[in-house]
Symmetry: C2
Subunit: 355 residues, 2 copies
């Protein structure tokens, strides 16, 4: 039975990408060798890494603007630490919009002073704070563009003279933005970019080299930049599948084309959440709703078993809310077709009719 | 054409493992979902992680002896840093047997005093130093069991009261040892265990908790142990393929059985290197020769083109020496069949006859 995969991450990838990845595991580039059993220094794999790095910059329109792309290990969680290790000399400003922001703040505090410019914690992170002040003398400002757990998404980013550092793990490549506003962007691959196991870091090189501490090799962006993400053995398979996914995005018309589909999918689901009396959205202000992760609740708990049963029958996967907030979460990443959202909406309407 | 894959890492994996991995990328556990698009918190993946951790302890005969196994990201290079971060309070003792030892020493020096107990650097690391003294008041002793680049391997490990920490990246699961002598063992997966992208760390829990510094979450073994390698999203594919490879090893009779084959392969190749007047081994003392990576030179450079051509015609892949020492390196990891070594020996004899 066909599955409709609303998983929050690791999550749905394009079927053609899965097909090519499986083939490469058996025989890569007609070498009669598997992708995962060749040297990462071989011509064939170096080309994969270079293509992946280049596609990331192309999608973000950051070629020839002083930026470089890295594919590292450790997940976005390692970036909570690395951003601070490389950029935090005295103090840094953080916007607290959820669990992931909090974890980033925790690591940064080990290395310097952290100014929390605003927080939505008291409201269980159900909105995005606005109108905060960023201290001009902070080393950088850190924010989370999309809050995977709560289903909120930043629409605007502050104008500031200090480097803007952003965790885009769950909405990278989903919408057009002026990415050249950012000093550093990072994203775990396992949402819109590929499988778990690698993390994209896009850095404006000029923001580096300003801290006085000694930085361990593996935590040092400069070390990885000097070796083009090959300081040590890279996560070969994850980089390859990310490359294929970015290639698929390019062939699909790039970010501008996928953004239109993402807007349609979000509009379809949110209008049903609003229209259908059985459901309500989790996010308090509609303008903060995420187009990637739609969080909602069933108002009447007594219908949960029925709803869950219909979801299962329809082949819907991965739609439970994060354990910290409960309810439901429909993640609608780039690779999820509009058709899957329609199937979910149909289920919501079926349950409404039966209730 | 069938390839004989002597690559030093990433390297050959069992064909049945590649087959199952490719299938899982398309449809995992008959879920009609790919292994790489399901939540790492799903029952199906949690089982993979638990099985992988358990198989690692089984192979090392370390169950119920106070050890835990972790699968982390970052490669063995991240362990150069993490071992020191978690264990080095004042000073640590290191044996320097090659590039990888040196890199481990470099990271440790950022965190405390390093006593280099012995080094073979002046001889281009072509032997393993013996009869050194380990300071009793060091926090731990670190060594590299197999030196991938130079083709040397430690046969004996020092008796010492302080924790023994060992980088077994290139010979893990290849031979029987009393693994309970070690306080911490780490190994990048991409040789005997699986594809690049994950690193096995086996820790005797009692050696932790003795340093006074604050440890960042992602570098903290305790944090990862408390979450059973799921503090953040693990490298799903790499852990799965590692699990399959360890399963294959178990089905093949475990370390004791594979060690016999590894001994046969090494004996076959080294006797030819010694017998054949065209070749000479790189390692100065025969007792230090590695059974995983056999390094050798062609005495007459004029025959290089001929030898390389014959290697190519025979389908031999990945046999060039590391760029830092040149010559040839035949890596004979667990998954390499005896047959491939025979093909290499045949080529060496063919070139001898023609010369
Ligand atoms: C926005 C965001 N940041 C960070 C993370 C942590 O990523 P990782 O598990 O790769 O460390 C996640 C994981 O879901 C996330 O959604
Ligand atoms: C013995 C040894 N230690 C460490 C490393 C570094 O491993 P990684 O590239 O996973 O950081 C290697 C790589 O070949 C190795 O052979
Ligand atoms: Mg969040
Ligand atoms: Mg409603
Ligand atoms: Mg070495
Ligand atoms: Mg000889």
């Amino acid at each position: 039975m066909k599955k409709h995969n609303f998983s929050a991450g690791p999550c749905i990838l394009p079927q053609s990408v899965l097909q090519k990845s499986a083939e490469a595991v058996l025989n890569f580039n007609n070498l009669n060798l598997s992708l995962i059993e060749i040297s990462h220094r071989s011509k064939d794999f170096v080309e994969v890494m270079e293509t992946a790095q280049s596609l990331a910059l192309v999608h973000l329109q950051l070629q020839n603007k002083g930026y470089k792309a890295l594919f590292l290990q450790g997940g976005a969680s390692m970036q909570f630490l690395m951003t601070a290790y490389n950029l935090l000399e005295k103090k840094a400003a953080y916007l607290n919009t959820g669990t992931w922001s909090e974890k980033a703040i925790k690591e940064a505090k080990m290395l310097g002073e952290v100014i929390e410019v605003a927080s939505s914690k008291s409201e269980n992170f159900n909105f995005i704070p606005k109108n905060y002040n960023i201290p001009k003398d902070a080393d950088y400002f850190h924010c989370t563009s999309n809050n995977t757990i709560y289903g909120t998404q930043m629409q605007d980013f502050p104008k500031t003279e200090i480097p803007l550092v952003c965790d885009m793990s769950s909405d990278i490549f989903s919408r057009q933005l002026d990415f050249s506003k950012f000093g550093l962007i990072y994203a775990g691959a396992q949402k819109n970019m590929g499988p778990a196991g690698t993390t994209l870091v896009v850095i404006k090189e000029e923001i580096l080299g300003k801290v006085s501490r000694a930085i361990p090799s593996m935590l040092n962006y400069k070390v990885h930049l000097d070796k083009d993400s090959m300081f040590n053995t890279p996560p070969v398979f994850s980089v390859y599948v990310s490359m294929l996914t970015m290639q698929w995005l390019k062939d699909s018309g790039g970010i501008s084309a996928i953004e239109k589909v993402n807007n349609e999918k979000a509009a379809l689901l949110y209008s049903e959440i609003d229209r259908n009396a059985l459901f309500e959205g989790f996010v308090s202000k509609k303008e903060d709703r995420s187009k990637m992760n739609a969080t909602f609740n069933l108002k009447n708990d007594g219908l949960k078993a029925t709803f869950d049963d219909h979801l299962k029958q329809a082949g819907i996967n991965g739609i439970n809310g994060h354990r910290s907030i409960g309810g439901y979460r429909a993640s609608m990443y780039n690779a999820l077709p509009l058709e899957s959202v329609q199937v979910l909406v149909d289920v919501m309407q079926t349950v409404e009719k039966g209730a």
